[in-house]
């Protein structure tokens, strides 16, 4: 059953403990354990407090199984402690027991697989463990006499009452009567029946964990590349910090087995006080260069620095990464600034926050910050380490226009106010303007900033109304103390064939409005009608393309993902090819793993699936986010063509200038209310 996993799992993680106290958990281990704990805790709590969710209670064994398969037991233990605490805090002993059940199911299944053993081993381990658990449970129940008597009496009288009620019904009455006598008998000899019951649950549950884990592990291995090689966690951080001056000579990087360099040879020197910008399109190896600056070994060329990189250490190397949310580790703003520092280090948190424009926000929860605020906080946390070298890797890709300028302003001031060298990696050439030097990676792709001829506004105005948003308001968590208005009395209409740009800043309610228009959410008051009927009654009639298109592509390969989105059979290659052709993708992409696609390709594949159903209305949420200029221009050009064919479209974006050729009409939201409805009729 475990064919395909050799004796040593290919992507299990072997631990090196260089530079860290022995036995302490490594960064990757902490993150994986925390993720598993969050998942198990959520599943455990849900199974207790949400009626009907009990069915899913055992699914917590899957994350635990994956963790146990990839990591040593100690990591699983940390996850178990954290998940148990979450379960206990929210749902009491019930939550704790629910979590612990998933822990042993997943741990047994995962560890048996990690050791390359099969079903027989799993069953015998489970049998032994089941005996221990049964003895423990019977012991606890024996000790808690009072509780036991109450529970037994409650069960007994429930079954008894049921038997009395149905006594007169011919066959059912007799059957229930027999059941009643059996239950009474079990309750008298409870230790035996309880023990056997617990043992069976352990056996059955562990087998269930095993049977779900087997296909999931195989699929995860197929779909993604999770090897730790090349990740920051694999960097040897033991030498004393001395990252500058760093000299890169013809440095290149090629993944094992690849036929071309991910990073083509580049030479670079950075010293204290330097502000170096690195630009290049997606796929030119920018992030690989960041990892090499942070201490990864290149496959070609040489890197010279006086000491170690000192990642995250005093006077070492600090990084600000692309994913704003995932790199913030503290729960409050001030917690994040000090996160990971030695316990005795004193830091002036307020001064650091002031420098990045977050003064007075030390006590705010990090979960409520905007993308731009998160990235500025990441800069403050980097500065708390007084780094000699600071590397910022595409820090503005996920940040809106206003936020982007604030982040760039902070970065540009760094070399003046601190003794450090700054390497700013970006795919927006304009962000490199204030650097002392610019290094270009990859081929020089010239980008035409205005490729598409605008769609004429006049050709689309006469059509019938298809979407009516009438006085829509929406409150989150309505009726509770956490209630918060998201939309206030929003009204507008969209006619057939129209292109509308819906813009607004962070927290303006754009996404909520998109969900209401797609029918995923009902307005608190007012109505949202598509062809005269509420959108929530016709889910799927409005197509919604997520910003994170990856979440919509649920199958392993692009072709199958398109089929799932379009409602095709996955064997209908003709239909899939036509759908891919409609977004100008070749047929060869159907066999490519989703995780190997670029950001632009992901959006196109999602579009292919959505358009194949000829939606009445297509909503695109931030279609340009995370794309480099060339990919943005390509996508806008494609969308303009789709619009010309008469597709009604609403584009949600903060990128007004790039999208105006596509959408002649702009609607602006500000704090949940409509600000303006400008129609550029006279163009």
């Amino acid at each position: 059953m475990c064919a395909g996993f050799g004796s040593v799992p290919r992507w299990s993680v072997r631990v090196r403990s260089a530079g860290l106290p022995s036995g302490g958990m490594q960064p990757a281990e902490l993150a994986q354990a925390a993720m598993t704990a969050a998942l198990m805790g959520a599943i455990g709590v849900a199974s207790i407090v949400i009626p009907g969710a009990v069915v899913f209670a055992w699914l917590g064994a899957v994350p635990m199984g994956v963790l146990s398969f990839r990591h040593r037991l100690g990591v699983g233990l940390a996850a178990a402690v954290a998940a148990g605490l979450i379960g206990f805090l929210v749902a009491g002993f019930g939550g704790l027991i629910s979590v612990l059940t998933c822990v042993y199911m997943g741990a047994i299944a995962g560890q048996v697989k990690r050791r390359g053993r099969g079903v027989a081993t799993m069953l015998s381990v489970a049998a032994g463990w089941g005996i221990l658990v049964a003895i423990f449970c019977v012991g606890v129940f024996t000790a808690t006499t009072y509780l036991r008597r109450t529970v037994i009496a409650a069960i007994s009288s429930n079954v008894g009452g049921f038997a009395v009620l149905v006594r007169e019904i011919p066959i059912v009455g007799a059957a229930v009567g027999a059941f009643h006598r059996a239950v009474e008998n079990w309750l008298i000899h409870w230790p035996l029946f309880f023990g056997i019951g617990v043992w069976l649950i352990v056996m059955f549950g562990t087998s269930f964990g095993w049977s779900v884990l087997t296909p999931v592990l195989r699929r995860i291995e197929e779909v993604t590349d999770l090897t730790i090689e090349g990740s920051l966690s694999a960097i040897d951080n033991s030498a004393p910090a001395g990252p500058l001056p760093v000299v890169l000579t013809d440095v290149s990087y090629r993944y094992p087995g690849a036929d071309h360099d991910t990073l083509e040879p580049v030479s670079l020197r950075v010293d204290v006080g330097d502000h170096v910008a690195v630009t290049g399109a997606n796929g030119s190896g920018k992030t690989t260069l960041m990892r090499i600056l942070a201490g990864s070994r290149p496959t070609g060329g040489s890197v010279q620095r006086p000491g170690g990189v000192g990642l995250g250490q005093l006077a070492g190397t600090a990084l600000v990464l692309q994913h704003a949310e995932s790199q913030i580790l503290g729960l409050r703003v001030a917690d994040d600034v000090v996160w990971g520092l030695p316990h005795d280090r004193q830091i002036d948190v307020e001064a650091l926050l002031d420098e990045v424009g977050l003064a007075g926000m030390a006590d705010r929860d990090t979960a409520g910050l905007s993308g731009g605020e998160l990235q500025r906080l990441a800069v403050a946390s980097a500065l708390a380490r007084q780094p000699a070298l600071l590397v910022a890797d595409e820090v503005t890709t996920m940040v809106d226009q206003g936020g982007r300028q604030a982040v760039i302003k902070v970065l540009d001031g760094l070399t003046r106010h601190h003794r450090l060298g700054l390497v700013h990696i970006t795919h927006y050439p304009e962000e490199a303007a204030s650097a002392d030097r610019v290094v270009r990676l990859g081929p020089n792709r010239d980008v035409d900033p205005a490729p598409a001829a605008p769609v004429a506004a006049s050709q689309t105005l006469s059509g019938p109304t298809i979407l009516e948003v009438n006085d829509v308001s929406f409150d989150y968590a309505q009726g509770t103390p956490w209630s918060r208005p998201a939309l206030r009395n929003v009204s507008f209409t969209v006619t057939a064939g129209e292109g509308v740009l819906l813009c607004g800043g962070n927290g303006s309610g754009k996404s909520t409005l998109a969900w209401i228009m797609a029918g995923l959410q009902q307005p608190t008051t007012g109505e949202c009608l598509l062809d005269g009927r509420p959108t929530s009654e016709q889910l799927g009639a409005v197509a919604l393309c997520f910003q994170a298109a990856r979440l919509q592509l649920l199958r392993g390969r692009a072709g199958a993902a398109v089929a799932a989105l379009a409602g095709f059979s996955s064997t209908d290659t003709g239909a899939i090819e036509r759908a891919l052709a409609s977004v100008r993708l070749g047929t060869e992409i159907a066999d490519v793993l989703i995780d190997r696609l670029s950001g632009g390709q992901l959006r196109r594949v999602a579009l292919a699936g959505l358009l194949a159903r000829a939606p009445r209305l297509l909503i695109l949420d931030e279609p340009l986010a995370g794309l480099d200029s060339a990919a943005q221009a390509d996508l806008i050009d494609l969308l303009v063509r789709i619009r010309r064919q008469g597709q009604t479209m609403i584009v949600i974006s903060h990128d007004v200038s790039n999208l105006s050729p596509l959408c002649p009409r702009t609607i602006e939201l500000e704090r949940g209310s409509l600000v303006s409805a400008v129609r550029k009729d006279q163009e």
């Binding site: 958990m25 354990a33 979450i86 009288s157 948190v349 968590a477 009902q522 608190t524 799927g540 059979s569």
Partner: protein, 262 residues
């Protein structure tokens, strides 16, 4: 379920404290953890009406002091109400039958009272956790666990690693929740597949999608931790127990005394 009814349901809000401050908000998170643990154990040892009543009063007192209104309680689905009604009917009908393991209880309402007690016990335990999470900043929990667990270090248990894991899992919660919300929405928008797919394949599909999302998040977070040079401090504040905490513990100790001697 009618659309009207669905619109007005109050959602369940977990791990989100109500706006403070209040005397209960101000208690050290470790005190609240200890109280919840102690009272849970007490109720397990001795689930008497006295203990359940005292715990209920403790919850009411905390709710009153903490400014928790009844609107925090999510709407209870009808299925739950139905189960309670059916259970009550069954146990009341059974009233006449002798209770095997509990001979001393008055014949008649005996079974019903037992059923009521088990239900009340469950409610009180849930209420205790709810009041705690509604008055405690999530950020304060992990540091408190680290302090409470300090004695365990003598047993060479990695308490600090555990505290870091707890703090990070709280940090990961909202991110994963948002991604799973999107994942669920994507599935709702998807048309039915023309092929007949088995439950098992569907389940594996869903688990894989969720795990890939979660693993990717964890990889990014692992990189971020590595970029900070590994774990160390997790909190900027240094909350310590004060007089109010001592008072709270005295109240709970008195409760223990009443229940166990009474």
């Amino acid at each position: 379920m009618s659309r009207r009814g669905r619109r007005n349901r109050r959602p369940l809000m977990l791990m989100r404290p109500v706006p403070g401050p209040s005397p209960v908000h101000n208690l050290w998170a470790g005190t609240k953890l200890l109280v919840v643990l102690a009272v849970s154990i007490l109720l397990t040892i001795s689930p008497s009406w006295c203990a359940i009543g005292l715990t209920a009063s403790l919850i009411l007192l905390a709710a009153l002091l903490g400014g928790i209104s009844y609107t925090c309680i999510p709407s209870v689905p009808r299925s739950i109400g139905l189960i309670v009604v059916v259970g009550s009917v069954f146990t009341i009908v059974n009233g006449g039958a002798p209770n095997l393991a509990l001979g001393s209880v008055t014949v008649g309402l005996g079974g019903f009272l037992d059923f009521l007690r088990v239900t009340a016990l469950g409610l009180v335990l849930l209420g205790l956790g709810a009041v705690t999470t509604w008055t405690t900043q999530i950020a304060d929990i992990a540091p408190a666990v680290a302090q409470l667990g300090r004695p365990l270090r003598l047993l060479r248990l990695p308490v600090d690693d555990w505290a870091v894991t707890i703090a990070l899992s709280f940090r990961m919660f909202p991110m994963l929740a948002e991604e799973f919300r999107l994942l669920a929405a994507a599935r709702r928008l998807q048309p039915p597949s023309p092929e007949k797919r088995s439950r098992r394949v569907e389940l594996a599909d869903l688990c894989t999608a969720a795990m890939v999302i979660a693993l990717r998040r964890a990889n990014e977070m692992g990189d971020a931790i590595a970029a900070r040079g590994g774990a160390g401090r997790i909190s900027a504040g240094s909350a310590r127990p004060g007089w109010a905490d001592a008072l709270a513990l005295v109240v709970v100790a008195a409760m223990f005394g009443l229940v166990l001697t009474g």
